[in-house]
Amino acid sequence: MEKIRKNKKVIAVFLIPAVLIYLCFELIPVVMSVYFSFNDWPGLQAVPLKFVGFKNYSNLFHNAVFLKSLQNVLIYVVVSVILQVPIGFGLGLLIHHFKKGQRFFKAAFFIPMILSVTAVALLWNFIYFPTDKGILNSLLIKIGLGNYIQQWLVNPKTSLICLIVVSTWTSVGYYMIICLAGLTSIPDSVLEAGELDGATGWKKIWNLYIPMLWEPLKMSTIMVITGVLKIFDTVYILTPTGGTSNCTIVPALLMYNEAYRYGHYGTGSAIATVIFVLSAAVSIFSLKLMNQKESIEY
């Protein structure tokens, strides 16, 4: 077996189809995009690229809007990690517990994921509607909190968190599924042994489930981080201009505008590169952090 595990031919046969497709359709275009970022280009076939070195990057880091977008997306990432993973896994554990109605619950939490972004945005627009007709505002009035009604998506204090709530709502279902998939792959005997230890409540979660689910937890965290760093749809549809005083602008939206609205393809590519590098850095950092705790082998 050990010999097979080092067999170059076998490795190549298993690896090449995926690598080939991945190279052609994702990596080579990305490398091209990085190359674009060192050039000025108005996005016209007839106009050759004009090499400008790091100009696009130095402009970016002097651009207040871009800096604001970095700040926003970092807040977005931190809050999303804190919300999405624990809620998703909490739901997973609870559902696993409730033998009755499990199928219904799974479907219920999964539905937001399958809805198209358009439907989600439309719905939340009605929830966050700025007058007392809005679903959230009218609810607040009904329960006597009329003082707290807001122009949710306009107020700089609330708009970013409102977007994070929408993202969380749409994605926790997926982390719930990952958690359930992780749980089902743990042999019953291990879980039963855990039960016999007599640990309960938080202790059980901390000592039994978290170590058991460490791999899926790690995966989910990375998925949240990378997913949020390139977030575009939700932000674009709910606050198409990036919000009041740019309070909901994110790099991907800025990139989209620079390239496809303003014809600054060099700048757009530079932003794409920054998103990429940032994601890689944050993911590697958090992986290192999480790898310090070893998962239980069974």
Partner: protein, 435 residues
């Protein structure tokens, strides 16, 4: 990593081999693409489909592909990618004037001057002066780079019943009269204007009208070419007037967060008395099931008594057709044929009848059975002699549209007019192309 290198080599070789195979096309038909913003279920889209089909029947050697996309950002993505790959659609639409400069300079767009001069009869179907809209010589590129196709005439649409209810007897002509009417409406418990601030163009258009009535066409063009600055007193004043409208109670509570569809629905259900909009909204209103259609009419944006010289400057947005500058002779011939077919008197009349859009052509009349409001609009359009488009259309700075509109919305919420002007000017200074 030896295998890795081999793999990479193989991939590159394969990619190169693939790219050397030039696709072979069947050469019997000339294929041209047509790309407009009218697709799907709209009356206009249907007329286009029919006209293209009829054209292909008449010209069996030409195949026209209708690539129209209704939704704005989708349209924009598709067009920009097409330009970047050099697959410029033969006929397309793009909302810009000065912004066309770079495309014109780089041969993306066809200079239509010669084609128009060669066919006097065709040239004469356009309204006098309409072709000048796309004459880019003011920006240093000689030539006419688009054909005006539709006019979006700005006006204030109002609900007669609500005006009567508030005791307003005649529509306002001056801004002071408008302010009085706003007071009357507020006193009667009616929200004067429906504004979907979240779609920043709505406030942007109101500001544009104020700008037109205070600094005129010349002023706006000077603002676009940089002869005039956003921080100039008269421009800041226009911003301030826009901001003051909110304090006068002209807009609904929370309008900054509402979207355009909400605004329309507020108007069509009789919740608000006025909306500031342009002529294409007429067919949309008649497409809805509103019960107040008979009560709707419009009046021109009021002028300022201290600026009587701009009383007759009206905001009219022209939308045009651009033709690809990289066509083969064969394609060019077919494309011009299609364009001439679509701008023939019959075609234009057909579109106006079906879709109620105002067009920049001579001798076109509103259809007999059209609603009165549309007939009035066509008549009103005929009286306009001094018109100006969107302020950013005259500026080569591509970011201005967003910076200014976002800035105006921020101003409505909290920022001062002075700060807003400075923000916009700073953007223009940074992003307007130098040459």
């Amino acid at each position: 990593m030896k295998t890795g290198k081999k793999v990479l080599g193989a991939v590159l070789a394969a990619a190169m081999a693939l790219s050397s195979i030039t696709p072979v096309f069947a050469a019997d038909k000339v294929k041209i693409t047509f790309m407009s913003r009218d697709s799907g279920d709209t009356p206009m889209a249907k007329v286009y489909e029919d006209q293209i089909a009829a054209f292909m029947e008449e010209n069996p050697d030409i195949e026209v592909q209708n690539d129209s996309v209704y939704e704005e950002s989708a349209y924009n993505n598709k067009l920009k990618v097409a330009l970047s790959t050099g697959e410029t659609p033969n006929i397309f639409y793009y909302p810009a004037i000065a912004g066309l400069k770079e495309w014109a300079q780089n041969g993306v767009l066809l200079d239509l001057t010669d084609s128009l001069n060669e066919d006097e009869e065709w040239k004469n179907t356009f309204l006098d002066g309409a072709l000048d809209t796309y004459d880019l010589s003011a920006y240093g590129v000689d030539g006419i780079y688009a054909l005006p196709n539709e006019l979006n005439v700005d006006a204030i649409f109002y609900n007669k019943a609500l005006f009567e209810k508030a005791g307003i007897e005649k529509t306002p002509e001056t801004m002071d009269e408008l302010y009085e009417d706003i007071d009357k409406l507020v006193a009667a418990g009616i929200t004067p204007f429906g504004v979907g601030g979240k779609n920043t163009w709505v406030m942007g258009h109101i500001f544009n009208n104020i700008l037109a009535k205070r600094i005129g066409r010349d002023g706006i063009i000077k603002l676009g070419t940089g002869e005039k600055k956003w921080t100039d007193d008269d421009v800041v004043e226009c911003l301030q007037i826009t901001k003051d409208l909110k304090d006068k109670g002209a807009f609904a509570e929370g309008f900054e967060g509402m979207d355009y569809n909400t605004q329309m629905n507020q108007f069509l259900t009789g919740e608000v008395a006025m909306i500031s909009h342009s002529s294409p909204i007429i067919p949309e209103m008649f497409n809805s099931e509103s019960e107040i259609l008979d009560d709707i009419s419009f009046f021109a944006f009021p002028y300022f008594e201290d600026k009587p010289e701009y009383k007759d400057t009206h905001v009219v947005y022209t939308s045009g057709w651009m033709l690809s500058g990289t066509m083969s002779d064969e394609e060019k011939e077919a494309t011009l044929k299609l364009v001439k077919y679509m701008t023939s008197k019959e075609s234009i009349q057909e579109r106006m009848n079906a879709a109620m859009r105002v067009a920049p052509y001579k001798d076109i009349d509103a259809p007999e059975d059209a609603p009165q409001i549309f007939k009035d609009m066509v008549e009103y359009t005929g009286t306009i002699t001094d018109s100006v488009g969107e302020y950013f259309d005259y500026d080569t700075c591509s970011t201005l549209v967003d910076t200014s509109r976002n800035g105006i919305l921020n101003m409505m919420l909290s920022d001062s007019a002075e700060n807003t002007a400075q923000t916009i000017q700073a953007d223009v200074d940074a992003n307007r192309p130098q040459s």
